[in-house]
């Protein structure tokens, strides 16, 4: 618990991290309060006239209307819910699987460990987007299918990370001590090893949420999103298929900007957390050497026997 307080205290002082958190929280806010914030209900059926289709922004529709006459802004607001749901759920799944695999393979080592790592290597070599495309196109579309597919393909990186951490923690004093006291393996893993790895996992989890959101938007853009829901990627799919020739920027740009907004926020947060948990070297040998000689004028301490020192 104490180390989380430490981490938070350091995080608070990093402008990039805090800005990222702000970006994320604003989207979370919009997602939660969508029904109150959105001027229209995207699911409601409306009567449209031909001139209502793809209209640019005006007073009644701040971001204009899409190719079906619906309000773009409302869809944008509700889209936050889909993106965040997929992001958090898929990330949680990846982190969970990855952590378990990493813990087991790192702690037990030996053949199980190696076998698991071979599996990781195998999955890493398979190109992820094509595999996701294949899965969804055969299996069918749907929110949970997307979450599952992204989650199942995203755990490998985390597994590797956790494993290498566990390998180094395994030999540390407090673990050896626990073993000498007769603690069972599971207990050691849960009580001693896991808390050490948790901060790093959290940093990676934040980054993986952004990966998941981008993956979902890519899948939706390519036509494999959940047809019952409006996600930013789906909006872009419709916009691209139907509105690109009309240069309907109000339909084309906002969903993309929204994706970038939340992703960059998560990335800045995650990057900052990663730097806190796993600090990188701040200096190296090739710095500007001009400040090295900094003699304070007249600051010669009194010393006997100056002059002829033999």
């Amino acid at each position: 618990m104490k180390q989380f307080k430490e981490i938070w205290r350091t995080f608070r002082r990093r402008p990039m991290g805090m800005l990222g958190a702000l970006l994320l929280l604003s989207v979370v806010f919009v997602a939660i309060f969508a029904p109150w914030l959105a001027p229209y209900d995207p699911k409601a059926a409306i009567a449209v006239k031909p001139e209502d289709l793809l209209t640019p922004p005006d007073a009644e529709h701040l971001l204009g209307r899409d190719d079906a006459g619906k309000d773009v802004l409302s869809q944008l607001i509700y889209g936050a819910r889909v993106s965040l749901t997929v992001g958090f759920a898929a990330s949680f799944m990846s982190m969970f699987i990855g952590t378990v695999v990493g813990l087991v393979s790192g702690y037990y080592g030996g053949r199980i460990g190696n076998a698991l790592m071979r599996l990781v290597d195998f999955l890493l070599v398979i190109p992820s987007l094509p595999l996701m495309l294949v899965f969804i196109s055969i299996w069918g579309r749907g929110l949970w299918k997307i979450i599952l597919v992204i989650g199942i393909l995203g755990w490998t990186f985390n597994a590797r990370l956790v494993r290498s951490q566990v390998l180094s923690i395994k030999e540390r004093q407090f673990v050896l001590r626990a073993r000498a006291l007769g603690a069972g393996h599971l207990r050691i893993i849960v009580r001693h090893v896991f808390p050490q790895v948790l901060p790093l996992i959290l940093a990676e989890a934040v980054l993986s949420i952004s990966d998941a959101i981008i993956a979902e938007s890519s899948l939706s853009f390519l036509g494999l999103g959940d047809p019952m829901l409006v996600s930013w990627g789906m909006m872009l799919n419709f916009a691209f298929e139907r509105a690109i020739s009309r240069m309907a920027w109000w339909f084309l740009l906002p969903p993309g900007f929204a994706i970038v907004w939340v992703s960059v926020g998560l990335i800045m947060m995650g990057n900052t957390l990663e730097e806190i948990v796993n600090p990188r070297l701040k200096t190296h040998h090739l710095f500007d050497p001009r400040c090295m000689v900094a003699r304070i004028a007249g600051a010669r301490p009194k010393v006997e026997a100056e002059g002829a020192m033999e």
Binding site: T283, H284, H285, F287, P289, R290, C291, M292, V293, A294, R295, I296, A299, R300, P301, K302, V303, E304, A305, E306, M309, E310
Partner: protein, 319 residues
């Protein structure tokens, strides 16, 4: 003729919260051409820092806050970085502690030595390569090894290669920082022999940085004992061994096995060196000193010439 004169050199390290750690305070010595100096002290006493300061190779947090480093009369601390580069290696060369990674692992050893030559002298590649061969001969490495990579050298060979590289531009001064750490005893003896031969053949001045007083006795003419960043005692090797005055020096001498008296007990000095962020106001050795007096904790003793050529920083009896 003094080839290097260091006067009142002080080096600080800046920490994250802008406090200054006084790693080296007011160190002075003088080195004549052909004579060698032993810089002795425990780990962390500032000896490496002082040497890095001389060559202006401190890490980013290092600041030289006072002093002069006179090489043949020129104050190196006044020079620009570009002028300084001419002195590095060409006039004063430095062999680092722990040669494990001091050589670039993806470049051939011979190339790295040749690089040193070509930086300072305008010779072509073939001439440089020839010189590399001569240097390797000098340190006892077969010439063919020039085409190998550092990981193919043994620890002792790497150290000798570093020495060969240090001599590439015929410097006047060679600073050897703990040249035998992590090497086994046989190799240590080899390296020492090598340094002694080089001293004789090349009239090389060596500054030997070490915690091993035994090594110092074999190679050096003068000894500067450092403690807690300051000079404790500075005198010729004879005086240090036979008439040492500083309690720390005396303890150091007792801490090393005496080959003439193998059954005498080895003394270790209890306690730890002072932390640089919490230096005592008085003498820095006082907490561990066995003959301290009231004044020692209150006032830092000045470095005094007890007799010509023998300097000590210790409050005399009856203070």
């Amino acid at each position: 003729m003094a080839i290097l004169q260091v006067r009142n050199l002080s080096v600080n390290y800046l920490t994250d919260d802008a406090t200054a750690l006084r790693a080296v305070e007011d160190v002075s010595f003088s080195l004549d051409q052909g004579r060698s100096l032993g810089l002795v002290g425990e780990s962390g006493c500032g000896k490496t820092t002082a040497m890095l300061g001389v060559l202006r190779l401190l890490p980013a947090e290092g600041r030289i806050v006072s002093g002069e480093v006179l090489y043949e009369g020129v104050d190196l601390l006044d020079l620009s970085e570009r002028e300084m580069r001419n002195y590095r290696w060409g006039k004063i060369a430095l062999v680092f502690q722990g040669a494990m990674n001091a050589l670039n692992p993806v470049r051939r050893v011979g190339d790295q030595i040749a690089e040193a030559i070509m930086i300072h002298e305008s010779v072509d590649k073939t001439a440089a390569r020839k010189r590399v061969g001569e240097l390797l001969d000098m340190v006892g490495i077969t010439r063919e090894m020039a085409g190998q990579y550092p990981h193919q050298y043994s620890g002792g060979m790497r150290q000798r290669a570093m020495i060969a590289m240090a001599l590439a531009c015929s410097p006047n001064i060679l600073i050897a920082d703990e040249p035998t750490t992590a090497l086994d005893v046989m190799i240590q003896a080899q390296i020492l022999d090598l340094l002694q031969n080089l001293q004789k053949e090349l009239e090389l001045s060596i500054i030997l940085v070490t915690h091993d007083l035994g090594m110092v006795a074999e190679i050096c003419d003068d000894v500067l004992v450092m403690y807690g960043g300051k000079t404790a005692e500075y005198a010729s090797v004879d005086l240090i061994y036979n008439e040492s005055l500083h309690p720390y020096t005396q303890r150091l001498l007792q801490a090393f096995p005496d080959v003439d008296n193998p059954t005498s007990t080895l003394a270790s000095i209890p306690g730890y060196p002072p932390p640089l962020d919490a230096l005592p106001p008085g003498c820095r050795f006082e907490p561990r000193c066995y003959c301290k007096k009231h004044i020692c904790a209150a006032e830092s003793p000045p470095l005094v010439a007890v007799k010509p050529g023998h300097y000590v920083a210790c409050h005399p009896d009856g203070g």
